[in-house]
Assembly symmetry: C2
Homo-oligomer: 264 residues x 2
């Protein structure tokens, strides 16, 4: 068994955000595994095999990757953004834990990447300037009551809140519900960022007041990363057509109790 497995973060999309280490991991692989659109981004060299798969079968894909590595292949599993953030790394360890005990001896490595919230924040200004969190709105893998309990906790504690997987055809109402929950803890004017496909040709960045974000929640899609500001998050207006900067000051002066009781 001389194969290996590397789980590679491609970043948000453009080659300028792909790290040299991630590029090297792709170049040295004999087999590339991933969701079709991610594989399509990667130029391959002669002799490399691409294994495209659907986006919703992470553990099957991970098991396939481990099997190929155990058979001696140099496998790269590619993942959008960072592989450890709501992506393939955890799925590989789930498959490793449940699979052939011999796989545990395989050389496995993870190559980090720029995750969507960092790219979105960079485009918008500095919304993550204070404490923040990343929560997946998908209730495929956890009960919706867990999602809402977590949202209520982080909103009450006044963390900037990044929402991954905010909406899909199968989950059309969850984003609006999450933003309505946010409105119980935040002023209606709190900045909300809808950052779609940052760095890609179809990029669209929208800065909205929370009350407007609620009304337009249905315009977000699977490629959108949502950032809900903390109570101190604010705008700096720019001249002309430029979107305002959104930033969260580093300092906190007031007690978080001021927001923990919610608004009614």
């Amino acid at each position: 068994m001389s194969g290996s497995l590397t789980i590679v973060g491609l970043g948000p999309g453009p080659a300028q955000w792909l790290t040299p280490a991630a590029q090297a991991a792709i170049d040295s692989a004999s087999d590339l595994i991933g969701y079709g659109p991610y594989l399509d981004r990667i130029p391959t060299r002669d002799g490399q095999t691409k294994h495209a798969s659907d986006n919703r079968v992470e553990v099957d894909r991970a098991t396939h990757a481990l099997r190929l590595a155990a058979a001696g292949k140099s496998v790269a599993v590619v993942s959008g953004g960072d592989p450890g953030v709501f992506a393939m790394a955890a799925a590989v360890f789930e498959a490793l834990e449940a699979g052939d005990p011999a796989w545990i001896a395989l050389p496995i490595a993870i190559e980090p990447g720029i995750t969507a919230m960092l790219a979105a924040a960079a485009k918008a200004g500095a919304p993550l300037g204070g404490d923040f969190c990343a929560i997946s709105l998908s209730d495929n893998l956890k009960p919706w009551e867990v999602v809402t309990a977590r949202l209520a906790a982080v909103l009450a504690a006044d963390l900037v809140t990044c929402l991954y997987n905010p909406i899909s055809k199968a989950r059309p109402w969850q984003l609006r519900a999450a933003l309505e929950l946010a409105a119980r803890h935040r002023d209606p004017q709190t900045p909300v960022i809808f950052a779609r496909a940052v760095g890609r040709p179809d990029e669209a960045l929208r800065i909205l007041a929370l009350e407007d974000a609620i009304e337009t929640a249905a315009t977000a899609d699977m490629a959108t990363l949502v950032i809900i500001g903390a109570s101190s998050t604010r705008l700096i207006t720019r001249p002309g057509e430029a979107a305002p900067w959104v930033y969260t000051p580093r300092s906190v002066t007031k007690s978080p109790c001021a927001t923990s009781q919610g608004r009614t």
Copy 2:
């Protein structure tokens, strides 16, 4: 006023984790501003001026950068990790808001980077496989009661918890206090990661049970990123001398109420 300002994320240290976009921003700058050790990492070309500063004067440094840009320089402010995560981006917007109104017309851009928690997670396995948060333990810019209220909230909501700025000579006891607080919400065997200087020559990764992390908190330092697991975070033992993998399964089955009452 034809200058510009780019706030550049250098990532955790090694060139292999510096994005091509960040490298290009450094190459095109006339003036580089940053904390001395970060500037020392960067090879400069002829004609570039480096302005090194102390680590604790972020807003002064940001004001200096804005002044140079307003004077026509192409300025790059360099930041370890990602500039938006407990680093220079928010300081620049604070200085922009408080400074010369003419600065608002300056072209400003942010180049994201691999932040410490992503590098640490990649090295350890997939500890961020579920919902997670990033909290700075520094009480220089917020009251300690805010830090502990936020920690209590995210621990009760069962998020994986990343601690930035865990300890310094001026703040020697806060990390132990934070871990003791974690022990009120987590099993004593919960995995804790002390990831020091990941990617640099002096890298050291330690995987500890929470109860042992408490006892060895004083061995962490300013270059350490701490990750406290969620209740589901677990280890996969590896053969030989290799550290175990740490990972958090993507699925949540139980209600967060099970942990929200704390342990006594």
